[in-house]
């Protein structure tokens, strides 16, 4: 009767002997996390970049002195240099200032999309997973239908109904993300519901709301939050794609996808017009996914 439990028991008794080195308490996780960041240069860069982007989001004017909307056709398509770090576009707008503002828009929209998907997905997934029965059947059928349609196409269809604009694009991307969250949350809830500790709680007389609040919620949230963090990058990519296709904010507003699209007319003459906004998208996505992966490995600090 040697089963995985013994192996699991063995593993923990070696990592957590005596004074409790393998502490998974909140402060312990936070400290371990800080140590991890220090030891991994890639992760450190990602965190620093996200801090910078956070600065751009809170006070863009502090980081980019020039007005992203200020046009000066006389100095159009200036290559990168001391005055314009990333050069200027065909209307003479400063690309650096536009990238700073555009990154901010992308990140906020990405967070909005993931927040929407998370909120609705958690609600549906928890209901389906814990209550089961016909409600579960119905919700999962709906999810199944939504999964059939590729996310990008679904977002496009939603945008065509809601109308264009950054917020609508974010909502559309969020709606397309709901099925995935609902499925993951449901699976987590089912896993926890079948666990030995929930069986022990039922046998100990705990009521369903108490089990949901004290067992299901705390145990399901870390993996779901990690999934949400991993999803931010994907949402930023989808939003920038829709913006590239022209469904985002109307022209003068700085949006990274739209900037890449506009720069396509100057591919042979002014490489910087498309290159910097594209790099900015890739960096935001890389940084968020790097941090999300680190969270996945060490647990969510709180």
């Amino acid at each position: 009767m040697v089963t995985e439990t013994e192996v699991a028991g063995e593993a923990t008794s070696t990592s957590g002997t005596g004074t409790g080195t393998g502490t998974v308490s909140k402060t312990g996780a936070a400290r371990g996390w800080a140590r991890r960041v220090g030891r991994r240069p890639g992760l450190l860069l990602a965190v620093l970049y996200l801090v910078l982007v956070l600065g751009w989001t809170v006070a863009p004017g502090l980081f980019a002195g020039q007005d992203p909307l200020f046009t000066d056709p006389a100095s159009g398509l200036v290559p990168p240099g001391a005055e314009h770090w990333f050069g200027t576009d065909n209307l003479g707008r400063d690309i650096y200032a536009r990238v700073v503002h555009g990154t901010r828009v992308s990140l906020v929209a990405g967070l909005l999309a993931v927040g929407l998907a998370l909120a609705v997905g958690v609600l549906l997934g928890t209901l389906a997973g814990y209550l089961g029965g016909w409600l579960d059947q119905l919700l999962m059928r709906v999810v199944e239908v939504l999964v059939v349609i590729p996310g990008l196409l679904l977002s496009l269809a939603v945008v065509s109904i809601l109308g264009f604009g950054t917020t609508n694009v974010a909502i559309a991307v969020g709606i397309a993300g709901i099925p995935n969250f609902a499925r993951v949350v449901r699976a987590e809830v089912l896993r926890i519901r079948g666990s030995a500790y929930v069986r022990a709680a039922v046998a100990g007389g705990s009521r369903t709301p108490a089990i949901l609040r004290r067992h299901v919620l705390p145990n399901a949230s870390p993996p779901v939050l990690v999934l949400a963090a991993l999803d931010v990058g994907g949402a930023v990519l989808s939003i920038s794609a829709l913006s590239f296709l022209g469904y985002g904010a109307a022209p003068p507003a700085p949006e990274l996808g739209a900037m890449v699209s506009a720069g396509r007319d100057y591919l042979t003459t002014a490489w910087w017009v498309t290159t910097f906004p594209g790099l900015a998208i890739a960096l935001v996505v890389l940084a968020t996914s790097r941090v999300a992966r680190a969270l996945e490995r060490t647990g969510v600090p709180s």
Binding site: I149, L152, L153, S160, F164, S261, W271, T275, G278, I281
Partner: protein, 314 residues
Amino acid sequence: MIRYVLVRLGNGLFVLWAALTVSFLVLHLVPGDPVSVMLRGNGGEASSVDPAAADALRAELGLDRPVHEQYLDFVWRAARLDFGTSFTTGDEVRAVLGRSLGPTLELAAAALLLTLVLGVAAAVAGTLLPKAPLRSAVLSATVVGNAVPSFWTGIVLLQVFSFGLGWFPAYGAGDLGQLVLPAFALALPGIGTLAQVLSRSLRTALADPYVRTARAKGASRLRATTAHALRNAAIPAMTLFGLMVGGIVAGAVITETVFSRPGLGTLTANAIGGHDFPVIRALVFLAGALYVLVNLAVDLVYPKVDPRIVLRAA
């Protein structure tokens, strides 16, 4: 087996019907009606729509009839693959779709082939290369491939290989040379995802006890990986691959725009821009049908890869 396929196709039809119904309902639930949306285009004011023109258009499209009648008519025609006429061009949707299907299928097939070959190669290299820095370099490359927006990849490829080196033509469709760059741009994110999922399950499989058994027989590390672990690790990657097919076809919207290729993607972009609901509904139907068929095919292959999986007609 036949019973299983029939049951699955039946399920698929149900899902398609549900998807169509949702797309029909959504159209009737949105505030305002499609006609004024169509006439005002994007950004216009609702008051600027001419009521007489709207009524005329409504009658022409059959939108003045009772909802249930419209719905039954819609489903009945969809069952015969008749999706009506395009709001914007007035052409028959089926014919429009037929014209665009060819170039997109060509592009999607090339991208899927690239995804499969490069994704598996990157996963195996990222797990088996003898030096740890080499392994992590390969895996980092897959992460970057995942993070780069595909429209931008396309543009960079154009800048370097068409305008810079002049190796491939920049635009258009038809010959093989024109397929290389768009197929790669379309495939890149999928290559990253597939490689990451496969290398992760490969690492898990390599820690399984049967790999130790194989090594204890005297098998080399390479043999234990290729003859034993790889096939066991294939299932999650196969599932992912099945799910990716739809995404790659949808991704053609972007790639075709970047490379100015004709096809479903360009059609979709125009339909969304023009609020051309019949075309959008037909595209949703097509994507759904593709999903159902591809995943049925993947499910039929599962038991060949893993004998523990039994097809279950539920």
